[in-house]
């Protein structure tokens, strides 16, 4: 056993792994991926086991778990599917934002509902003209009595169309000033009149789903503004560290899943009278894959521990996110090579990883943007 983890953390890992094995065995995963359906019962089983309570404070009904605890959960879900880890990340990250930035009334209202599975949450920042350049968003919210009226179009919102989803949408409340001073965060039920959702036809992440959202004169009660008017940027920044490291944990888990699968296949598949894993070309490929995943994992847990210690770990965490996502994409690609034609066939699982991994270096901040940030924190500011 790994000495980095406590007995309770080993138990936690074991429980999440057993939960996934029971409620999401490989044939089930294959089916929901093929049918592109959201696994509501699996989500409910996470709720029941207390997965969503883990990272929240005991005062609001949470379990007071650490960042390392959240990473363990994300890693074990990610091991089965990067797509499904988004279901966990969406609700957890948004909820933590509410816990950090919401008023006492807002926390008392939203957090118990989130932890009990009554609602789930998704984040919606990106727009057609605002990807890496978040500040370019154009969706607006205008005050009207005790409501705000939201208008605009959002893109690439993960999980926004699932039942009882509350969209955590970033909008401009003051378009005239610099975006850092003019953005706000609102919580909007996805069935509010004036909202139109469209599930996009993506290459992967079929189950959680990626959505386009149109807001047309959507009336949002003012008490759904989190952190105050024009304080949206602070909300984004406050969550960055935890979100990135937990996302990195999911990527590490998915990468481990790929290596396990490729290793098992290399031991089993025989050509020229021997397992293909005994050919040095394949054996070294697997040795490199395992080494890089182990390095990504070590960096990720080191960052998680730094966050728990309250250290400013932004640079390290950005490195962890960059390295974990690129490692996942890399091992999924090599996994395809090891699987040969079987990898390219949709009845086998490697192609799912291949599709889901490809976007890990784009979603939640592209590799280029992560490198910009790391370089910036090294004193290499772009001109």
């Amino acid at each position: 056993m790994d000495s980095r983890f406590s007995e309770e953390q080993n138990l936690l890992r074991d429980t999440v792994a057993k939960l996934m094995a029971k409620h999401c065995p490989p044939e089930f995963m294959r089916r929901i991926d093929r049918e592109q359906s959201y696994p509501y019962m699996l989500y409910d089983s996470w709720v029941e086991a207390g997965l969503f309570r883990m990272p929240f404070a005991e005062a609001y009904g949470g379990l007071g778990g650490s960042t390392v605890d959240a990473c363990i959960i994300a890693e074990e879900i990610g091991r089965v599917s990067a797509d499904l880890s988004m279901m966990y990340g969406g609700s957890t990250f948004c909820g933590l934002n509410v816990q950090r930035k919401g008023s006492e009334e807002q926390k008392a209202y939203w957090l118990p509902r989130l932890m009990s599975g009554e609602i789930r949450m998704s984040i919606s920042m990106s727009e057609p003209d605002a990807g890496s350049d978040v500040g370019a968003i154009r969706t607006t919210a205008v005050r009207d009595g005790d409501h705000y009226i939201v208008n605009g179009q959002k893109l690439w919102a993960t999980g926004a169309g699932a039942k009882n989803n509350v969209i955590n949408v970033y909008v401009k409340t003051d378009p005239k000033v610099h975006y850092r001073q003019g953005m706000s965060l609102f919580l909007v039920d996805n069935d509010t009149p004036g909202i139109e959702l469209r599930k996009l036809d993506m290459l992967g992440r079929y189950c959680t789903g990626t959505y386009e959202i149109f807001f047309k004169d959507v009336r949002v009660p003012a008490d759904r503004l989190i952190g105050g008017e024009n304080k949206g940027w602070e909300c984004i920044l406050s969550g960055l560290q935890v979100e990135r490291v937990v996302a990195a944990a999911a990527d590490v888990g998915s990468a481990e899943g790929c290596v396990e699968m490729a290793l098992a296949y290399a031991k089993d598949r025989k050509q020229f009278g021997r397992p293909i894993g005994t050919f040095q070309a394949i054996a070294h490929m697997l040795a490199d894959m395992a080494t890089e995943v182990a390095a990504a994992r070590a960096l990720m847990y080191q960052c998680a521990a730094m966050v728990d210690q309250g250290e400013d770990a932004l640079k390290d965490i950005t490195m962890a996110k960059l390295f974990a996502s690129e490692t996942y994409a890399k091992v999924a690609n090599l996994g395809m090579q090891i699987f040969g034609a079987y990898g390219y066939n949709k009845e086998f699982d490697m192609q799912r990883h291949y599709r889901d991994a490809r976007i890990a270096t784009v979603a939640a901040g592209t590799s280029q943007v992560q490198r910009n940030l790391i370089a910036g924190l090294m004193g290499l500011k772009a001109q």
Partner: protein
């Protein structure tokens, strides 16, 4: 009523066992260890009895090296109330375990002791029976159903050719069979609560029990590898082989 549950740390059932190169035992370094599956069933049954109001407290006991704490912690995270760890690096045989349990029973005074029918590592299937004999208590082994009243237990046992239901007086020893229940996994709230539950540590010396092994292991070897089969062309060929090669007819 207080319930005592014995839990053993064994190599996880998913692990492919490998014999050490020097043939003194099996490889345990860097191998995943878990609670003996029959003991998980014992813990689950105890928790169900407590949930049904038939028991007040569940004490989980494990014996062996420091790592046993993790096994006890698993029981606590499933729902046991506290743990006792008998620390020793000596490989314990069933009689030693039964004697240690007897010493703990003297202190704890449980109304019922639940154990797995056997451990999946040595497959001895002796500890429960030996404990009942040492205590001079009734025993019900291979339980597939368990009902408690204040003074008796009604136990359905899996026996050759069917099921046998017996009533025994408490205190007693029950050992679990596979079909008694399906163990839960530790929920996250219980894992967090388990952090605060206590595990008392003691030693065979403190309990005044001699646990020196009575058996000597001469050698541990892998089971013989199955030789590949062969397809024969005709019945005549088969008979010929049976007569001349295998020499069984």
């Amino acid at each position: 009523m207080k319930l005592l549950v014995a839990v053993k740390r064994v190599i996880d059932y998913n692990v492919k066992i490998r014999v050490k190169a020097d043939k003194t035992g099996v490889e345990t370094a860097n191998v995943k260890m878990s609670m003996n599956p029959f003991d998980e069933i014992a813990v689950e049954e105890a928790i169900r009895l407590k949930e049904a109001g038939a028991a007040k407290e569940i004490v989980a006991v494990s014996m062996g090296p420091q790592g046993c704490q993790e096994t006890i912690r698993t029981a606590l995270a499933m729902g046991a109330d506290r743990g006792i760890h008998v620390l020793t690096d000596i490989a314990l045989e069933p009689l030693a375990v039964a004697k240690l349990l007897k010493a703990i029973i003297a202190k704890e005074q449980p109304g019922l002791v639940i154990l797995g029918k056997q451990a999946i590592d040595d497959d001895c299937n002796q500890t429960g029976q030996m404990l009942a004999a040492l205590m001079n208590w009734p025993q019900a082994t291979f339980a597939s159903k368990l009902k408690l009243t204040a003074e008796t237990a009604e136990v359905t046992r899996e026996v050759d050719g069917g099921l046998e239901t017996i009533a025994i007086k408490l205190p007693a020893v029950v050992t679990t069979d596979l079909r008694l229940n399906e163990p839960r996994y530790a929920s996250l709230p219980n894992i967090m609560k388990a952090k605060k539950k206590t595990i008392d540590q003691t030693t065979p010396e403190a309990l005044d029990v001699n646990v020196q092994p009575r058996l000597t292991t001469l050698q541990v070897t892998e089971p013989v590898k199955r030789q590949g089969g062969k397809k024969l062309g005709s019945v005549e060929e088969l008979v010929d082989k049976l007569m001349h090669e295998a020499q069984v007819i």
